[in-house]
Subunit: 336 residues, 2 copies
């Protein structure tokens, strides 16, 4: 028997409960993992609320990202063996599999080998944030090594935002972080942001002026945005000619107008990025991304900011903390 976090109805973190389940032997293409740590992602709150790309089928498991030790291997799995330390990210079969559990079977496609010199907590916080930041900024957004560019990173205090600051710096570019209020501004500077802009109450023109003031009057080269809504209008005004705005989320819940006139004036681009569709499920792109990411993970250049760890018994509290929006960095649950 194994403790598993599940929910039987859509709602908030209060829906989550720990139940004892018999875990079957892994099927073909599956690997069974004893989970040591699991990182929280905002998409899980949306899945819990019934607002994600995939509808939950009850009872539904939760947890897209984790790390642990392989305890059994199904047929047709050649890349992993019992005792291997692995990361899980992203869990492809959302709801049927979940990293918020002591033990679970996962598709082998969801696993990555864990470097021996990183902890399980770190291994449970890398594979969503850093590939999202790298794929979004570099592969979709056109950030180039040593090109003297600048990147605007919105909602920068999230785990992806903080990873994006590091990826920006690793390419020799300037990181301009945005946050709604001044509360997290100092933490963002401490985390390495070159400039912080607080966006509450700014008009597009004012935001554009602030970005131009720190980019030699030019505007940003890449923007990396999970907010959408009014943020897109701000970014369109702050873009340099030929800039790319990469949207990877919809936190505001508001769909903006297409800023066509700004695009026509500047020639800038808007695109969308989803880490699973455009990177993790694309072996050729993943090869390029891993060649950049893995050495920098192992040498400590890329290191997640851990906001807080919770015991597995407190998994609902961990998600409540995530929904409070007061955290800075990654929230992690550790299994006993």
């Amino acid at each position: 028997m194994s403790k598993v976090a599940e929910f039987d109805a859509v709602g908030g973190p209060e829906q989550l409960k720990l139940v004892e389940r018999e875990i079957p032997a892994p099927g073909a293409g599956e690997v069974q993992v004893d989970i040591k740590a699991a990182g929280l992602n905002r998409a899980e709150l949306m899945f819990l609320a019934g607002q994600y790309l995939v509808e939950p089928v009850f009872p539904a498991k939760i947890g897209m990202e984790g790390a642990g030790v392989v305890t059994a291997v199904g047929a047709n799995v050649t890349d992993y063996k019992i005792g291997d330390e692995v990361s899980i990210a992203p869990n492809i079969n959302v709801g049927a599999e979940g990293a918020m559990a002591e033990r679970c079977n996962f598709s082998a496609l969801s696993l990555h080998p864990k470097p021996s010199n990183v902890s399980f907590v770190e291994a449970a916080t890398f594979w969503m944030a850093y590939p999202t930041a790298y794929g979004g900024l570099v592969q979709a957004g056109g950030l180039r090594d040593g090109a003297g560019q600048s990147a605007v990173i919105t909602a920068a205090s999230s785990s992806v935002g903080l990873a994006a600051i590091q990826v920006t710096h690793a390419h020799g570019a300037k990181a301009i972080a945005t946050t709604r209020t001044a509360t997290k501004a100092q933490e963002l500077l401490d985390a390495g942001a070159d400039h912080v802009i607080t966006t509450d109450g700014l008009t597009p023109q004012e935001f554009g002026d602030q970005v131009r003031a720190v980019t030699d009057g030019k505007g940003f080269d890449v923007a990396f945005d999970p907010v959408a809504g009014p943020m897109v209008g701000l970014l369109a005004e702050a873009a340099s000619n030929d800039a790319t705005i990469v949207g990877y989320g919809f936190l505001s819940g508001n769909m903006p107008e297409l800023p066509l006139f700004a695009l026509m004036r500047k020639g800038s681009y808007i695109t969308g990025f989803h880490v699973a569709f455009h990177l993790l499920m694309q072996p050729e792109r993943m090869k390029v991304a891993s060649a950049h990411l893995l050495p920098r993970w192992q040498d400590g250049t890329y290191k997640a900011t851990i906001n807080k760890t919770f015991a597995f018994a407190d998994v609902a509290k961990a998600y409540e903390h995530l929904s409070s929006n007061t955290q800075f960095g990654k929230i992690v649950v550790e299994m006993d």
Copy 2:
């Protein structure tokens, strides 16, 4: 004295009148041209209606594109001499200069040499349509020579749309033309479109299905769109992964929502293009574009479809014909 088309109040073509004006000697950087033919552009109707980027100052001249013979040259002009045959496009000082006149002074920056083997009518119909099509499809949209791509060209019966079909073919790509109703479908096929889709009443899904049906299930690689409004939602659903939608106009008068979810699902891009900002005023890009366009203009590969020519006395009727939206190709006014 010279006959000049002018207007003293915003409105429709009925505001245009022919007046006799003394044309002063060209100033520094200016060239005086005896105009032989002038091509009509939709932007001129918007300028006349007070809905263009630039507000008219009365009395305002009209006409962004023409061709004629140099009759005088101002100070600091070295590229042109009396007797040179030239195209004017685009007239930079909209309203203060206008190609709908027997004679006018233009900034030398607005002129292009006319090849000797093309007529004045052809020389008055090339420099708006073909650079717009080339810059939009190739430089902004990523159409590549011989890459087996496909382009969706909306509002395809305009002079730019017809040029876009030719530019698409010159790159070995498939041209999928759209038109609102079946009226112009056969003409579009005759003009070289590989496929024609009539869009009135189509849902985004239905439009996407029709585009996928003629692109091996893949969707288009580039879309070239002056319509905006609901057309953007249709295009977002028909895009292949990594496709680029290039918006170069706002004919619908409706600003669409940003199709963020389609962009995130596909990884496709939306950008804007303006022929003056992103090509004609950018010498480096213009050099590349001219190297592609000029030989194909001179050898007849690129040839505008002339819908109808009007006498200069009927200039108001020419603009009425343009606003009727029944034309197919370019409308031209010929001076006596």
